[in-house]
Point group: C2
Chain length 348, copies 2
C-alpha cells in the first residue's frame, strides 16, 4: 500500500475507511465497518475492515496492520465509519484497544445505537482521547440499515415486489411467471444475498413453490452461493415434504405461526439484521399495517394485465388524504424494467 | 452565423439540421423539420427550419437564408431531417425548389410516409439529383410520432396515467387529488403542450371536472399558454354548462359518441397528429383493445393505497402468457415520482 507517501485530508481518510468497510459481508449479524489510521503528520499508517462476526473489528484490523508495518500508533488519528464498541464480545472492546495504542484522536461517522456495545465514544472521551462524530454520507450509509435494526431491536425489513404497471403480481388465472425480466430477477438474487433471511408465507410457498436461494449470476442454473439467507416460512399450513423451501440448498425455519412481530424478534436474537419479505399481498399488508416494513424494493415491468392479483392487500386506507407515502431513495432501470427503492417514513 | 469558417462533416451537418428542426412547434399538423445547406467545399451556407403549418418549409427557409447571404446554391448539398415534399400545399413543393436552386446532393434522415406529399426523393432522383436516405437518430426522432401518424392515417395516441405503486388512480372513496407531485403534474402540462388534442371521457369530465389546459410552469395559477390543445370529450352524457372543459380557456369538441376510431379519424382530418388520452380505466381499456394506443406515459408515485380504482379496465387478458408487454423508451425521475415512457409494440 503506497498510501503513506502523502498526507490525507480528513474527508479522504473517511472516504477510504468507507471503501474498506464496504468489503465486509452485508448479510452478517455485525455491521460493515472500515477504519483508517493516520500518523500525526496525516500520513496513512494502516487501514482495516471487519470481515464478519467472530473476526477482528475494523479498528483492531487497522491497528494490527499499522504495527505490522512498524508504524507508531501513538498520537495517531483514527477514522472509523462507526463508533468504536465498548464491550467485550467474541473480540475485545475496540475503544480500549485504541486507547491502549495511544491513538490521540478518533473520528467516527455514525453513533452505535447498540445498547450492549455502544458508548465507546464516551469511554474514549473520559479516557482523554479527542473524540468526534463527523457525518460522512458513504461511511454512514454502510451501517444505516444495521443501526436502524439495532435501534428497533428487530431486523430491517425490505419488502420486495415485482408487478406490472397496473400493480398486478399475477394474471386472472393465477399464472405469474415471469412478470419481470431475467435481469430484474438476477437483481433479486443480489438483493437476497444482502439479507440475513427471507420471509415468506405458506400461501406463497404452496402457490409458487419458490426456492428463495442465492445463485451465481442470479441464474436458476448458477452455482449456489456459499452464504445463503435463512428461509423463514410464516403460516399455519403444512408444506409438502418435497417443497423447494425444504430442500438442503439453504437452511429453512418453519414457524407455524403468522405472528410477524414474534418472527422478527426471533430472527433478531439469531443475529439477522436485514430481512427480505417475499410474500403475497395479504402477508405484506399485515407487515405494513403493523409498521414492520422499512423499505420497499419494487420491480415494475412495462406490462399491463387489466385483471389479476394486486401487489398489496387492504391497508385500511379509504381516502387519498390517508395514502401511505414513501420516500424515493433510488430509481434504476434494469433492461425493460425499473427498480424503485422506497422507504417507509418513520412513525414517531 | 460564423458557421461558414470551417467545412462540416456530414454527421455534423445533420446534427445541426436536427437542432434547427427542434425549434419548430411540436403540436402542429406539420412535422418539425430542419435543413442545412453546405457548399461544394462542405462549408455552411444556410440553415432553416419549419415554423408550423402555413409557413415556409425548412428547405425553403434554408435556401432563402443562403441567398440572403449571397451564397451560391448550385452544387450545394442539402441535409434535411425529413424527405423533401413533392406536392403543392399552402407552399410549393420543396423537391422542386431544391432542383431549381441547383442543389446537387440531398441527404435526408427519414422518408415521408405522407401519401399526398411523399415521393420527393424519387422526383429528385429522376431529375438527376443525387438523393440519399441516411439514418440519423436525432433527426429521425423529430418526426417519429408524426410519421407513424401519417402512416396510420390517425393521430399518434399517448395515454397518460398517474398512479400509485399498486396501480391505483383513486382511493376507495373516489378521492384522487393528488397522487403525484407538483413536479409531475407540471410535466403533464408540458406533455399536453406537445399534443394537438386531449381526449377524455364524459365519465372523467363529470367525476373530476378537469381543465386539461396548458399553463405556464404547469401551475394552476400560471398564465394560459398561447397554444392550447383541442379538448375532446367522448361519451353520451351531457356536461353541466359550468364544466371547466366548456370554458373559454381552450377550444373543446364534444362528440356525443364513444367511437374512438371515428374520433381519431376526425382529429386526423383536422390536422391533429398527436393526441393525449387523459381518461379513466374504461375508456383507456377500450382504446387499448382496439389497438388505438401507441404510447403510455406513466407517472408513478411512491405511494400505496391497497384499495381503490385501478389504472386500467379489463383487457380480456386472463393468463400471464398473454400479458400486454410494452417497450421501455425512457425512465425519468421527477422529484419523488418516476415517469415511464413506454410504447405499445406494433401489431402487424
Amino acid at each position: 500500500m503506497p498510501r503513506d507517501l502523502a498526507p490525507l485530508m480528513p474527508a479522504q481518510a473517511m472516504d477510504l475507511a468507507a471503501e474498506l468497510g464496504a468489503n465486509g459481508p452485508e448479510a452478517d449479524p455485525n455491521p460493515r465497518v472500515g477504519a483508517v489510521l493516520l500518523d500525526a503528520h496525516g500520513r496513512f499508517i494502516g487501514g482495516g475492515h471487519h470481515r464478519g462476526a467472530g473476526t477482528s473489528h475494523a479498528e483492531i484490523d487497522a491497528l494490527h496492520r499499522a504495527r505490522s508495518g512498524d508504524h507508531e500508533t501513538r498520537g495517531a488519528t483514527a477514522y472509523i465509519t462507526l463508533e468504536p464498541c465498548a464491550h467485550t464480545g467474541r473480540t475485545g472492546p475496540c475503544a480500549d484497544a485504541l486507547f491502549e495504542a495511544g491513538v490521540a484522536h478518533v473520528v467516527y461517522a455514525a453513533p452505535d445505537p447498540n445498547p450492549v456495545a455502544g458508548g465507546g465514544a464516551r469511554y474514549l472521551t473520559q479516557a482523554g482521547v479527542l473524540t468526534e462524530l463527523r457525518h460522512h454520507d458513504a461511511a454512514a450509509a454502510l451501517t444505516r440499515r444495521w443501526r436502524r435494526a439495532m435501534a428497533l431491536g428487530r431486523p430491517w425489513v425490505t419488502w420486495k415486489t415485482a408487478s406490472t404497471l397496473d400493480g398486478r403480481i399475477a394474471a386472472a388465472d393465477g399464472t405469474s411467471r415471469w412478470i419481470t425480466s431475467a435481469l430484474a430477477r438476477a437483481d433479486v438474487h443480489d438483493l437476497r444475498s444482502r439479507c440475513g433471511a427471507v420471509i415468506t408465507s405458506t400461501g406463497t410457498a404452496l402457490a409458487d413453490d419458490p426456492h428463495f436461494t442465492v445463485r451465481d449470476g442470479g441464474r436458476p442454473e448458477g452455482e449456489l452461493a456459499d452464504r445463503q439467507p435463512l428461509r423463514v416460512v410464516l403460516g399455519e399450513r403444512a408444506l409438502p415434504a418435497d417443497a423447494h423451501l425444504l430442500d438442503d440448498a439453504a437452511p429453512t425455519l418453519v414457524l407455524r405461526s403468522r405472528d410477524a412481530r414474534a418472527a422478527l424478534a426471533r430472527l433478531h436474537e439469531e443475529g439477522v439484521r436485514r430481512v427480505l419479505l417475499e410474500c403475497g399481498p395479504t402477508m405484506a399488508a399485515a407487515f405494513l399495517r403493523q409498521g414492520l416494513v422499512d423499505e420497499v424494493v419494487a420491480y415494475i415491468a412495462p406490462a399491463l394485465l387489466g385483471a389479476g392479483g394486486s401487489l398489496i392487500g387492504d391497508l385500511g386506507i379509504t381516502a387519498m388524504d390517508d395514502v401511505l407515502r414513501l420516500h424515493t431513495r433510488d430509481v434504476t432501470r434494469l433492461g425493460p424494467d425499473v427498480r424503485l427503492t422506497l422507504e417507509i417514513p418513520r412513525r414517531q
